[in-house]
């Protein structure tokens, strides 16, 4: 699909029910134009991962996902030699010259590709999603650097594998720690925050069919109001969508204190937060 201008990007994303603001559209456009990775940062549940998925739907490219976690290493992220198969191969013909065998067992037949290598070797261009990159250790981050800047992977036994088609790379971070300068330097930075009520209302309308405008507006405003409170965990966009669905299922078309008090647990997941919001919004209003 055509990503030739920021507004074209915005339209394309909107056509797959992802409503970008001008910032998101601009960065996606630039990433596509300059072939640079996007580093997306923001609170949980504002649609960071969803952006990569939407891009995959828009471009029709396959999505390859690398979920990061503490302890992720080369053999899980890049590649691994299939040593069982290698052993079998060695045992299969003992008569052969060792040099031949050695040549043979370090060939691509014995290589197990992991997400990063897979993205590089794909015939068709793909979307590579490196999710929650802030969870890996600083040392592991270095694995990504070669891929992000040059789109290539070096395997000592095989040499350097360069991407035949350039993958579009999206990294997400929940900002639990500062990422290394080297990584950040290679990426375009995109901070996604909670949407303003107008955009949230549009998102709700796109995601929850059958929602009345009045209710969507109310939901968006209540969400802002709750996010303004000082809570452990503010409601995310996905939670407001859940809330909208809940209200729809209960066939409620106007939110008042009682409704809010009864359904607050859909939006907030900590008891302390629920109590605080109840005190601020529900009881204060009732009294």
């Amino acid at each position: 699909m055509d990503l030739e201008s920021p507004s074209a990007v915005a339209n394309a994303l909107a056509s797959v029910d992802y409503l970008p603001d001008e910032r998101i559209a601009q960065v996606v456009f630039l990433a596509n134009r300059l072939s640079k990775p996007i580093l997306v940062e923001g609170p949980a549940g504002v649609g960071k991962t969803e952006l990569a998925k939407a891009l995959s739907r828009v471009t029709g490219r396959a999505l390859i996902r690398l979920q990061c976690y503490e302890g992720l290493d080369e053999s899980k992220a890049l590649y691994e030699w299939n040593y069982k198969k290698q052993l079998l191969r060695i045992q299969a013909d003992v008569d052969h010259d060792w040099d031949d065998i050695e040549q043979d067992i370090f060939s691509e037949d014995f290589l197990l590709t992991r997400p990063l290598l897979e993205a590089i070797r794909a015939e068709e261009p793909v979307i590579l999603l490196v999710d929650e990159v802030d969870r890996v250790e600083v040392e592991t981050e270095a694995l990504l650097l070669e891929i992000l800047s040059d789109f290539q992977v070096s395997i000592p036994e095989l040499g350097t594998i360069t991407a035949s088609t350039q993958p579009m790379v999206v990294l997400t971070s929940n900002n639990t720690r500062e990422l290394s300068e080297a990584l950040k330097r290679r990426c375009l930075f995109l901070h996604i925050d909670y949407p303003d009520p107008v955009r949230e209302q549009e998102i709700l309308n796109a995601r929850v069919p059958g929602l009345s405008d009045h209710l969507a507006e109310q939901i968006a405003r209540v969400a802002r109001s709750i996010r303004n409170l000082d809570l452990k965990k503010s409601p995310s966009v996905s939670e407001t969508i859940d809330w909208a669905r809940t209200l729809l299922a209960l066939s409620i078309d106007d939110i008042d204190e009682t409704v809010l008090g009864d359904t607050l647990h859909v939006l907030l997941k900590y008891q302390a937060d629920i109590e605080k919001a109840t005190k601020e919004l529900v009881s204060a209003a009732g009294g």
């Binding site: 640079k36 639990t176 303003d196 405003r221 303004n228 209003a285 009732g286």
Partner: protein, 473 residues
């Protein structure tokens, strides 16, 4: 364009944003790919290529406004008639015949209909007519901002807007609150527009570099805690959560890496698998170092903010200490550990401490001498050689006896006594500051004026040596 961009990058660096050479080049490449006439496109392009952390957004926005504002002709109606002074009311009829009431009316309808273009246009008119900007006059943008806002009478505008949006219906408190928040958000937009407009005019008047210099504000970690404005405090409040989380993550990582002493038995046992060759040495898990920390904070007026941030920061790190107790004092001292737990709002907790705990004995002016004496009498016996006592305060004792020797007695019972002073070192021992009398009895004293220094200090506190063994000035 390259010239402007280089200047812009220089300005960002001057404001404390780290911009590398590669990033600057990237931004220039990116700019080639976009429609330069579109200001939003340019802004987001530069933002995504030049700044890589949310912390720098504010600095970026200000610098961008200054460097890439639409240039305006100075011969605008903003031209003042000479000799007009501030107290004389400005004429309420502008050059284009628009009077204040009509302006307000149009503002109201623009706000009501969320018409952004009209809002921008009206903000321009408002600044034109109400700010009374004078070229070359050396006052800051804030002065003009308040002048404009005062003339617009925002509270009145807010009431009218509320009325317009509610439309005479009787609403429940809850609905009303939602609408009020909407109104405040829209007025916030108006304020932003006016501020941007004023900046634009200042730039046209004085040039980019000069305006950028006056608008440059330190990053939130570098704001002086003693002289923070209300908005700075709010920013700090927001920043302290992420800072402590990051510090905790850093400490957790460091802890894991440290290997303990060789576990001989386990190594021998393992060596049986390799035919008695100790190929795989085993190590004991290191016992994590968890110091016991007591905080003793001056919570008298001037010190309250600083003490609150110290308490908040240290309590966020509570899991890294074997025990954490807090004491507060003004002219006498009381234990306040129970007021601060997980998830409490520190500002209101401190408020409660001030009213409920026994921190005032006589007149409510700082008395370090009496506080130390009370502390010794009530708590010294509970100090152990593992306890690090941290005292926060400016040591301004209102010329009362310092009784510094008591601090010496306390120090003998504790592992270390550390003093954090939020005043610049140059001010210590001036006026009623008794810092010099206390210093000899402290293991170390530190000047802690910013969140960054506080973070560094708390991190050192969790180190095995605590960085506290050596006596420094």
């Amino acid at each position: 364009m390259i010239g402007v961009l280089t200047g812009f990058v220089d300005e960002l660096r001057a404001a404390g944003v780290p911009v590398s050479m590669v990033e600057a080049i990237d931004s220039m490449k990116a700019v080639e790919a976009i429609d330069l006439a579109d200001r939003v496109e340019l802004r987001e392009t530069l933002r995504s290529t030049l700044i890589k952390s949310l912390r720098y957004e504010r600095a970026f926005d200000i610098a961008f406004d200054v460097y890439f504002s639409t240039t305006i002709d100075l011969a605008d109606p903003a031209e003042p008639d000479p000799g007009r002074d501030d107290d004389r009311p400005e004429p309420s009829v502008g050059d284009d015949g628009l009077d204040l009431d009509a302006l307000l009316e149009r503002l109201l309808s623009a706000l009501e209909g969320r018409d952004e273009a009209a809002l921008r246009e009206l903000a321009r008119t408002a600044v034109d007519q109400l700010a009374g900007m004078e070229p070359g006059r050396p006052v800051g943008g804030t002065y003009y901002l308040y002048r404009t806002l005062r003339r617009l009478d925002l509270p009145e505008l807010r009431d009218q807007l509320l009325e317009a949006l509610i439309g005479g219906e009787s609403l429940s408190e809850f609905d009303r609150r939602l609408i009020e928040e909407e109104v405040d958000a829209r007025l916030g937009e108006l304020r932003e527009e006016i501020q941007a407009e004023i900046r634009r005019r200042l730039v046209a008047d004085r040039g980019r570099e000069a305006v950028a210099r006056t608008l440059r504000r330190p990053l939130v970690e570098d704001v002086d805690l003693m002289h923070a404005s209300a908005s700075d405090l709010a920013d700090m409040e927001a920043a302290i959560g992420p800072l402590t989380r990051k510090l905790a993550a850093r400490l957790a990582r460091r802890r894991k890496k440290r290997a303990g002493r060789l576990d001989f038995k386990k190594t021998v046992r393992r060596s049986l698998a390799t035919g008695g060759v100790p190929a795989d040495p085993q190590f004991r898990h290191p016992r994590p170092h968890r110091p016991e920390v007591w905080l003793m904070c001056d919570i008298s007026g001037s010190m309250a903010t600083f003490s609150r941030f110290t308490l908040q920061f240290t309590h966020a790190m509570a899991t890294h200490f074997s025990k954490l107790r807090s004491f507060a004092f003004v002219d006498t001292v009381d234990e306040v550990t129970d007021y601060f737990g997980a998830g409490v709002d520190f500002a209101s907790a401190l408020q409660r401490v001030t009213t409920e705990a026994e921190v005032v004995w006589m007149d409510g002016h700082s008395d370090y001498g009496n506080s130390l004496e009370t502390f010794r009498n009530r708590f010294e016996r509970q100090l152990s050689p593992r306890t690090t006592l941290i005292i926060t305060g400016d040591a301004r004792n209102n010329y009362r006896p310092s009784r510094a020797r008591i601090l010496g007695e306390i120090a003998r019972s504790a592992r270390a006594v550390v003093w954090l002073n939020p005043e610049p070192i140059a001010y210590w021992d001036t006026g009623d500051s008794a810092m010099g009398e206390y210093t000899p009895y402290c293991t170390s004293v530190h000047e802690v004026r910013t969140l960054r220094q506080l973070e560094t200090f708390v991190e050192r506190l969790t180190l095995p040596s605590g960085g506290l063994v050596k006596r420094s000035t």
